[in-house]
Point group: C2
Chain length 195, copies 2
């Protein structure tokens, strides 16, 4: 296993944290599922909290990869790229393993303000919004920051809605709303600076 063991433990822990919840998942369960021992786990992750933070970092990296891959194969039309983000999440939601957003869930489970978990969630939230703002700026809308807030809230809302009401497929509705908002923002930009 060598250096792989650390990754293996993290993979197993991440899956359990996501599917069952973080507080619900005990260290013993992780150790058992990973087929390893507590000593090995605590060698690589000094505490459960460290493991949780690693889980969030892993989730962020994974999601970033998925989104970048989708954007890379999307058309160059910036508006399409914005909508492609919704398509990514729609696909993720369709999986039976879907259990909401890891960061929203972690934020709900760890109430203590300023905790590393809350901090990681905040950083992801802001980073994701900035990604949308970049795409919105490329689309040439009037106020990219504002539109990015609108769109990120639509996505977050759709994620929690599907989590609470499985099968309601809200990401498609969120995408429709996004189209309206993007169209509006583009129209505003055109009106403000006519050729």
């Amino acid at each position: 296993m060598a250096r792989n063991l650390q990754q293996h433990i993290l993979d197993v822990a991440s899956e359990l944290f996501y599917s069952q919840g973080i507080k619900t998942t005990g260290v013993d369960a992780i150790v058992k599922a990973a087929g390893t021992t507590k000593m090995s786990l605590y060698k690589y992750f000094p505490s459960k909290d460290d493991l949780v933070v690693a889980h969030l970092n892993k989730s962020r990296a994974k999601l970033q990869g998925i989104i970048e891959a989708e954007l890379a194969q999307a058309t160059d039309d910036p508006q399409r790229k914005l909508l492609a983000v919704f398509d990514v999440f729609e696909r993720l939601q369709a999986s039976p393993a879907f259990r909401g957003c890891p960061f929203i869930n972690a934020s709900a489970e760890f109430a203590e303000i300023g905790s590393p978990v809350q901090q990681a969630a905040a950083e992801f939230s802001e980073g994701f919004r900035r990604l949308l703002a970049t795409l919105a700026a490329e689309a040439g809308v009037r106020d990219p920051d504002n539109l990015s807030k609108h769109l990120s809230m639509l996505i977050a809302g759709a994620l929690v809605r599907e989590q609470m009401q499985r099968g309601s497929a809200p990401m498609r509705a969120a995408r429709e709303a996004a189209e309206i908002l993007i169209g509006h923002a583009c129209a505003q930009a055109r009106a403000a600076e006519p050729a």
Copy 2:
């Protein structure tokens, strides 16, 4: 205390559940904070799960009351009423005690599908959307169900965003997006059925 004791225990438990998280809050902590005993708590609530469900029911009733009060004193303009819902949440978010939506948080903490907690969260989510749909229908929009989904997702998204990034005041941005979407839906209705 008499019959009041049950209510008192629920009040204290509800506050702790909301502020600290449900799994984090032990029965002993509730008993101590309420100044009562375990025997009394378990007399009125046979299990902690029952107490959690009661907490959610209480939260639903409380929120319904707040929204109804706001709608009652809002103008008769149906569009204003829709926006007044956003004002309610903006006020709630401004409180330092704000810690997100009790139902979203509970849904994140209790992963088991079909559990009473998940069920209560689903019912609330759908009930809230229906309220928005009713208001949207009164506003005479083309597809009230669709608009209600959009607006409920904006609100949910703003709630989790404020939870993860305190002080980012996203409900105002959500309200702006709502105005655009409402305007769009009304314009569609006018276009579909011209005088």
